[in-house]
């Protein structure tokens, strides 16, 4: 009997070593706290709930402590585990192009086609990427890591994941979380910079109403866009190819079902998987490092630089534009490709200073140009460094 009781005791003691309570460290609790904070931001403040709910819950999933010596195949970094299999889409980089397919199928490029000079704002805002790249180099990251960190400034989660999976896979978790977090925090980061860099007079500039864009122009845009950008930067093909393909599905008018699938069920499915696995990849043992903290700081800086360079570029650009064609610098922030949040910020801030000034459609131009610009920038970095 005593032996049997002993056996039960040993069994329970053994079981205890497998529980989360036994394996928990303070790092796990920090990450769980961050995850709960993300969920709070999404639910209570409605900051990008589509991103922060999956990422936040993914953080909880990824930070349930377990016995890593036991080979239970439950962790995201354990080969063959379910989470690891789902994570393959991130590590091998095929989730981001599928997201881009959906983005292409839901994006209306009319604003950009009707006023193509707005594309240049999208190009200028990419300076955030390279500004952060230079600072990262200064902080001691190697060029590949610096490029992967810099891309956070493109404000494009899929692009950041795609590039970091190729250039710095070991930093991908931190880069992805940082990119998505700052995308969610666009309403907090951008307005002060926009106010700081613009005068009251500039904020009330009314822009010329965009002209109507014909169906032919809309169909031509993805075809010409693909050919021009990908002939220039073939390494951007996975992202740009899918973006323009999705847009052609939308604009052709004859593939409605495919377009609806791409911008509906497909992108939703991939967003769920991407968000959850990116969140889960923040396993405390791999994630809580000095590098991760540096990446978060650099990510914030790159967002600030990108926003500032977009706004400043518009101010400089206005010097050579005629009086009727002036651009409101409040749409400069939209050069970062957080679609459509940064364009929405332009609209909100614009309305604050003039309730009759609707900037949303104008801001969508640089916003979608930013998507193209950041994909091109990612292609350039890939081409230079791989």
């Amino acid at each position: 009997m005593g032996e049997f009781v002993n056996f039960l005791q040993n069994n329970l003691a053994d079981f205890w070593t497998y529980t989360g309570f036994h394996n928990a460290t303070y790092q796990h609790f920090i990450m769980i706290g961050v995850g709960i904070f993300f969920i709070y931001l999404a639910v209570a403040k409605e900051f990008e709930p589509m991103l922060l709910i999956p990422i936040g819950f993914g953080m909880l999933v990824g930070n349930i402590p377990f016995n890593m010596e036991a080979g239970l195949q439950v962790g995201i970094y354990e080969q063959g585990s379910v989470l690891n299999i789902l994570y393959q889409g991130v590590t091998s980089g095929w989730y981001p192009p599928l997201i881009f397919l959906g983005i292409g199928a839901m994006t209306d490029f009319s604003a950009l086609i009707s006023n193509p000079k707005l594309m240049l704002i999208g190009a200028a805002a990419q300076f955030g990427i390279f500004g952060a790249y230079m600072i990262a180099l200064e902080l001691g990251f190697d060029p590949m890591q610096a490029a992967a960190i810099g891309i956070i400034g493109g404000a494009d989660g899929p692009t950041a994941i795609f590039l970091s999976s190729k250039l710095a896979p070991n930093l991908m978790g931190a880069i992805a979380v940082s990119a998505y977090s700052y995308m969610a925090l666009v309403p907090v980061i951008q307005p002060p910079i926009m106010r700081l860099l613009t005068t009251k007079k500039e904020r009330v500039i009314h822009m010329k109403a965009p002209r109507a864009v014909s169906h032919t122009e809309k169909v031509m845009f993805p075809i010409i866009g693909l050919l021009l950008t990908c002939f220039l930067v073939p390494s951007g093909l996975p992202l740009l190819g899918m973006l323009f393909f999705g847009n052609l599905l939308k604009e052709s008018g004859v593939t409605r079902r495919l377009a609806e699938t791409a911008r509906g069920p497909l992108i939703d499915t991939i967003t769920i998987l991407l968000g959850l696995t990116v969140g889960a990849s923040t396993q405390a043992s791999e994630f809580l490092t000095v590098n991760s903290i540096l990446i978060f700081v650099l990510g914030a800086l790159s967002f600030v630089i990108a926003t500032a360079s977009g706004v400043l570029f518009v101010k400089i650009f206005n010097l050579i534009l005629s009086k009727d064609n002036k651009i409101n610098p409040l749409i400069g922030n939209a050069g970062v490709s957080a679609v459509p949040d940064s364009a929405r910020i332009s609209q909100i801030i614009g309305l604050e200073y003039d309730p009759t000034n609707y900037l949303l459609m104008h801001a969508m131009g640089p916003n979608v140009a930013g998507v193209i610009g950041s994909a091109v920038a990612a292609g350039i970095l890939l081409g230079f460094l791989v």
């Binding site: 009319s110 950009l112 086609i113 009707s114 193509p116 000079k117 594309m119 240049l120 999208g122 190009a123 990419q126 300076f127 990427i129 390279f130 500004g131 790249y133 230079m134 180099l137 200064e138 190697d142 060029p143 590949m144 610096a146 490029a147 010329k208 109403a209 965009p210 002209r211 109507a212 864009v213 014909s214 032919t216 122009e217 031509m220 845009f221 010409i224 866009g225 021009l228 950008t229 220039l232 930067v233 459609m361 140009a369 193209i372 610009g373 091109v376 920038a377 350039i380 970095l381 230079f384 460094l385 791989v386």
Partner: protein, 309 residues
């Protein structure tokens, strides 16, 4: 657009493509990469035997299967030995940028990678690689007397055009089934670290490319936009039966802003009967009490008992 115009359009695209693009000079995916003739104490096969060998390299970033290809060797005019690489062996698939090694031991019964020929130590050796359609993929002549024992004749680096004698010295070593030149570091990264440690070079170059790409798009769509406005103006002139261009310009044909068109569309939509805010029908919502849900209901999940008749 009529047919001749479409034809001219496609022909001009084809001509432009052929005139501006460079052909890859018939480069094949698989090449002969290294040959060792006299093997005394170099790499040994699974049987512990030292024989000459021929290394093949897959230059592409995709798997290539050698099954069905031919390795041919000739050391005397008119005397060519041909080895058919057998099908059905998974090992004949070479992974991207990887190698396959064939033993020139004259004993094909020992396995797929043991050929039916032996390389001559005294004469020139011509080695050719053919695909299953007997098209020559690559060939090399190893001149007589150029190689000493345990030395190989190899491409300087994998897949490169220059060949050299690998004499097992500090920089030129014999490399069966592995890279002809081992990379110690990342040359691209080293270049960046050496010349652009601050990142300004990268920033300037990359921003130039980003701007170039988007400026090209801008120019393209500025042109497309102008053509579109012109066409719209022409159509409007036809619709209004106007031939005077100045009058069309004064009336701003084809320049209607999008918001005006949106307002007109909305007005038309409402005029077509979409303007009723108050419905004539009375909608009654009555509460239905359902104490079960499909998740808990046994009615839909349990099988019914058989009825007794």
């Amino acid at each position: 657009m009529n047919k001749p115009l479409i034809g001219i359009f496609f022909i001009s695209i084809l001509l432009a493509a052929f005139s501006s693009c460079t052909t890859p000079e018939g480069k094949t995916k698989i090449v002969i990469n290294e040959v060792l003739i006299d093997n005394e104490s170099n790499f040994e096969d699974d049987y512990g035997v030292h024989s000459g060998w021929v290394e093949i390299f897959n230059t592409s970033y995709n798997s290539v299967n050698l099954a069905g290809c031919y390795l041919k060797v000739s050391s005397e005019p008119g005397d060519t030995v041909s080895y058919f690489i057998p099908k059905g062996d998974v090992l004949t698939a070479i992974s991207p940028r990887q190698h396959a090694l064939f033993w020139a031991d004259g004993t094909p019964r020992r396995g797929t990678f043991h050929t039916n020929f032996v390389l001559s130590k005294t004469n020139d050796n011509w080695v050719g690689l053919y695909d299953s359609g007997r098209n020559l993929l690559d060939q090399i002549v190893v001149p007589a007397g150029i190689l000493k024992t345990n030395q190989s004749y190899a491409r300087v680096s994998d897949g490169s055009n220059e060949w050299e004698v690998k004499d097992d010295s500090e920089t030129k070593y014999v490399t069966p089934s592995t890279n002809n030149q081992t990379l110690e570091g990342n040359p691209k990264m080293d270049k960046f670290e050496q010349h652009d440690s601050v990142g300004i070079g990268m920033t300037i170059t990359a921003m130039c490319v980003v701007f170039t790409g988007l400026i090209l798009l801008y120019l393209c769509f500025k042109l497309v936009g102008k053509i579109a406005i012109k066409l719209r103006k022409r159509n409007a002139m036809i619709a209004h039966n106007i031939t005077d261009k100045q009058e069309a310009k004064d009336r701003k044909f084809g320049e209607t802003p999008g918001d005006v068109i949106a307002a007109i569309s909305m007005a038309l939509h409402e005029a077509q009967g979409a303007d009723h805010d108050v419905e004539e029908t009375i909608l009654t919502i009555s509460r239905v009490k359902r104490s079960y849900s499909p998740w808990s209901s046994k009615i839909y999940t349990l099988r019914e008992n058989p009825h007794k008749k």
